[in-house]
């Protein structure tokens, strides 16, 4: 077990980033023209990094499996992006954003990284507005804000319920400007199949053209992996169907440590599963918890009657409803952080109070918000003594303006009108805090291989706060990586073009081909999805919202057996040399089958509960997470040693110099 060097600069917290920027080496503009950088993934982190690096003068190649960079899954982020602008004058500051993020992450993230994130957050908003991102505005023309879970200020900027889309289109437009200048070459419908190391440094990738099936070699002086999270290891998640861990996992197999894989975010407000055919889950933005109240019936007989369709939720009197978040956490109420809200929903449903056919759903109710807004609107419109119908109508209009697209999406999927009856929601896998281990410069343990956005582990600890993923992706891509990568590349100004005909590239390409041929040789009858669904069930049941030693041990065994079965039997029609979606899926699922086991191993070793990682053995009398700072105040970074079971643990001790470690309380 080694000790990891996070390369955190010395000095006071608030000065670290500025000092570091002044201390690191730069590459002069003429030399930048001779340096190539590969960016894999074109979401917020990858798109922003590619655009900025190209603008600085480097030659950039981007890769994405989608048909256009604009379709990366950042696009699906709904609610907003945090920034410590304090436009509302409600006491926000860089320090508060930093503090909320560390606390929200249950004291398992790095102080210096998180402070830097808070420090650059304001710049992100300036940048995006300059790029033409149409954020929501107030009547006076100023930017509007709203609140998200786990904080007591309004610091979330938003563009209706499509903030991720608008920010991604902003980054994509910045990319387009560089593509038009010839500084970015975009390889769309391409998948990274492996990382190529030369003399221990990342020097390129092997990619597959997903249309022709051709295997390609691409070299560069540095490789950036911004390929998102691994939530799809659960099969059902809010991730896109194609979201996968392949690039990160290939790098892991080549020597990049994988940090805290068990830190996964189960988002409390998703549309519940409706049946076995289900291919993915849909999120209902956390912003809805600004106005929606979460409840289940107080009495068991009411819960049963609602499940059987004999009673309607709207028929239940106020006193027969259990607004359990408001009851348990009066200070934060419905806006507790995601991990807390998810566990509370599970607790009520496990106790038998679930409200849909499967018993795995709770209500998210807008009736009080509609009434409150309706009265306010009536007042400002000068209506005297409006009747109830008028108030409801006015209130519904306000709610529609705020959340219209989400309500419409809900209605299309569930076939119920959420203005008239409460939504039904249940937690679902949404985001992964774990990822490739990176130092302060966002470099992995492989020199020249960087990781940004959700793909790295760095800023969210054991639980991410709402509207912070967009902030981190853009911070990494626009404002961090372009500086730190220059320090590394300053040593490469005399290297010249990296050849792709070296033995290292030969060997990497051969491995990729062998692996695909092995996948195609399966002799069984089951499809890739069959295995993926089985893996997902193991993960959800045994590595989901609550975990225990016995089941984690079972999961490790079951995943390992399933992996063996998969490699011997998976059935893939078609050929390697053409477009083949089944083969694409197979390569991704093969890696999930390894990652899943490491995930369970990580969860098993962490004998504490913190953030999204809840071990049933470690909880307080009230059922809250029981952290063990004495023994687990560290980042668990796993080194690949063949099978996942042999992975070797390295620890990065987390040092808190500016924040006192406390039991996280939202009561």
């Amino acid at each position: 077990m080694g000790i990891l060097d996070s390369k955190i600069p010395s000095g006071p917290l608030a000065d670290k980033w500025t000092k570091h920027k002044n201390d690191i080496n730069l590459v002069n503009p003429a030399n930048k023209r001779n340096i190539d950088i590969i960016v894999v993934g074109t979401g917020l982190a990858g798109g922003a990094a590619a655009a900025t690096l190209a603008e600085l003068g480097y030659n950039v190649k981007t890769f994405c499996y989608q048909d256009s960079p604009r379709r990366a899954h950042s696009i699906a982020a709904q609610g907003g992006i945090n920034a410590a602008k304090n436009y509302q004058g409600d006491g926000d500051s860089n320090y508060r954003l930093f503090y909320d993020t560390i606390k929200g992450g249950d004291y398992r993230s790095r102080e210096a990284n998180v402070y830097r994130l808070a420090e650059v957050s304001g710049n992100i908003i300036d940048q995006c507005v300059a790029q033409g991102v149409p954020f929501a505005r107030e009547y006076g023309g100023m930017l509007d804000n709203r609140s998200f879970g786990g904080v007591l200020v309004s610091r979330t900027f938003y563009a209706k319920g499509q903030t991720g889309q608008q920010l991604l289109l902003g980054a994509y437009s910045a990319m387009n400007r560089q593509i038009n200048r010839g500084k970015i070459q975009a390889f769309n419908r391409h998948e990274m199949m492996d990382l190529v190391l030369v003399d221990g440094k990342a020097r390129g990738i092997i990619a597959r053209d997903l249309v022709s099936g051709e295997i390609e070699r691409h070299s560069a002086h540095a490789v950036v992996l911004a390929t998102g999270g691994y939530g799809n290891v659960f099969f059902l998640s809010t991730n896109a169907m194609g979201s996968n861990v392949m690039a990160a996992w290939r790098a892991h197999r080549k020597g990049a440590f994988f940090a805290n894989p068990c830190f996964t975010q189960i988002h409390p407000t998703c549309i519940p599963v409706s049946g076995d055919h289900q291919s993915k889950l849909t999120l209902m933005s956390e912003s809805l918890r600004n106005d929606g109240r979460i409840w289940v019936p107080k009495k068991m007989e009411d819960a049963i009657a609602i499940r059987e369709g004999k009673k309607k939720p709207t028929e239940l009197a106020e006193e027969d409803r259990d607004y359990y978040l408001e009851r348990r956490y009066p200070a934060f109420g419905n806006l507790v952080p995601r991990d807390v809200a998810s566990r509370a929903a599970k607790e009520r449903c496990d106790a038998g109070f679930g409200v849909n056919k499967t018993g795995e759903a709770v209500f998210l109710d807008f009736a009080s918000a509609i009434e409150r807004y309706g009265k306010e609107k009536a007042l400002t419109s000068g209506l005297k003594d409006p009747d109830k119908a008028t108030i409801t109508k006015l209130g519904e209009e306000v709610v529609e303006a705020k959340y219209g697209n989400l309500f419409q999406m809900y209605e299309k999927i569930v076939d119920q009108n959420p203005y008239k009856t409460p939504m039904m929601i249940y937690p679902a896998v949404h985001y992964t805090m774990g990822g490739l281990w990176v130092d302060y410069n966002l470099q992995t343990t492989i020199p020249g291989c960087y990781s940004a956005g959700e793909a790295n582990f760095s800023d969210h600890g054991a639980n991410r706060l709402g509207a912070s993923a967009l902030m981190q992706g853009l911070a990494d891509g626009y404002f961090v990586l372009p500086y730190t990568i220059g320090d590394y590349l300053s040593k490469d100004i005399r290297t010249g073009k990296i050849p792709t005909d070296s033995p290292e590239f030969d060997e990497a390409e051969k491995q990729v081909r062998d692996r695909m041929e092995k996948l195609m040789s399966g002799s069984g009858i089951h499809s890739v999805d069959y295995y993926h669904k089985k893996l997902g069930k193991i993960m959800w049941n045994k590595c989901g919202m609550a975990r225990n030693e016995k089941e984690l041990k079972e999961a490790i065994k079951e995943i390992s057996d399933l992996r063996k079965d998969f490699w011997e039997n998976v059935k893939i029609p078609g050929s390697i040399e053409s477009k083949n979606q089944e083969l694409e899926k197979a390569g991704r699922v093969a890696d999930f089958l390894e990652l899943g086991e490491l995930f369970a191993k990580d969860a098993l070793h962490r004998n504490e509960s913190c953030g999204g990682h809840f071990r049933e053995e470690y909880q307080t009398e009230e059922g809250e997470a029981l952290r063990d700072d004495e023994n687990f105040k560290y980042v668990a970074a796993w080194e690949y040693k063949g099978e996942p079971k042999d992975a070797e643990l390295h620890k990065e001790d987390l040092v808190y110099e500016n924040i006192e470690l406390k039991t996280r309380s939202y009561k």
């Binding site: 149409p134 929501a136 100023m142 889309q165 038009n180 249309v211 169907m241 477009k579 979606q581």
Partner: protein, 248 residues
Amino acid sequence: MKLYLKIWRQKDASTPGKIVDYTLDGVEGDMSFLEMLDILNEELVSKGEEPVEFDHDCREGICGTCSLQINGEPHGPDRLVTTCQLHMRKFNDGDTIVIEPFRATAFPVIKDLIVDRSAFDRIQQAGGYISVNTSGNTIDANSIPINKHAADEAMDAATCIGCGACVAACKNASAMLFTSAKVSQFALLPQGQVEATERVQNMVRQMDLEGFGNCTNTGACEVECPKGISLTNIARMNREYLSATLKG
């Protein structure tokens, strides 16, 4: 329910395609249209046949990857949804459903139901951006107040997901709704006005180069657009284009 599917199968861009018949049983109303195709594909794979390839990703109506011409309509019979959000409850037991790729010269078929929409990327590369550096050293976000109405209208235009339904719906395979949405977003914001003249000219030039047809104001694009992008954007682009031409 039981469905009779007529699906366009095409090996690759250079091989001619044809409609192939499939019968699918056990379809439920709560399934999305793509989940229905998943089930068909599971059956095909278990028989050792190649599954029907189609584009899809987020399956929540925002990435714009999914397409499909369903019974002659882009994204099928429902309004304001993409194919991934279309649910089978919109169909009846015993229905015959014809499923084809989006048809346009500028969208060549790659395989089965997958088409190449990279022409849209090239239109945006021609000018769909504001030439501001991403270094972060810009002015404070609140230093230019923007009228809420204009900001909201820009947002409405910006919600275009670039799926290509407008092109598939148009008898001329015109990309005017798509291009105009992008032009409008920037035209409505003060930040976009600096380069407005060049932007509209460059984007329209690229749109024509890609082989899209012209607009004859039938409005089919607006009807089929899953995001409800308004035809007024086309009027705005025409005005922008005309004034840009006059300015030279």
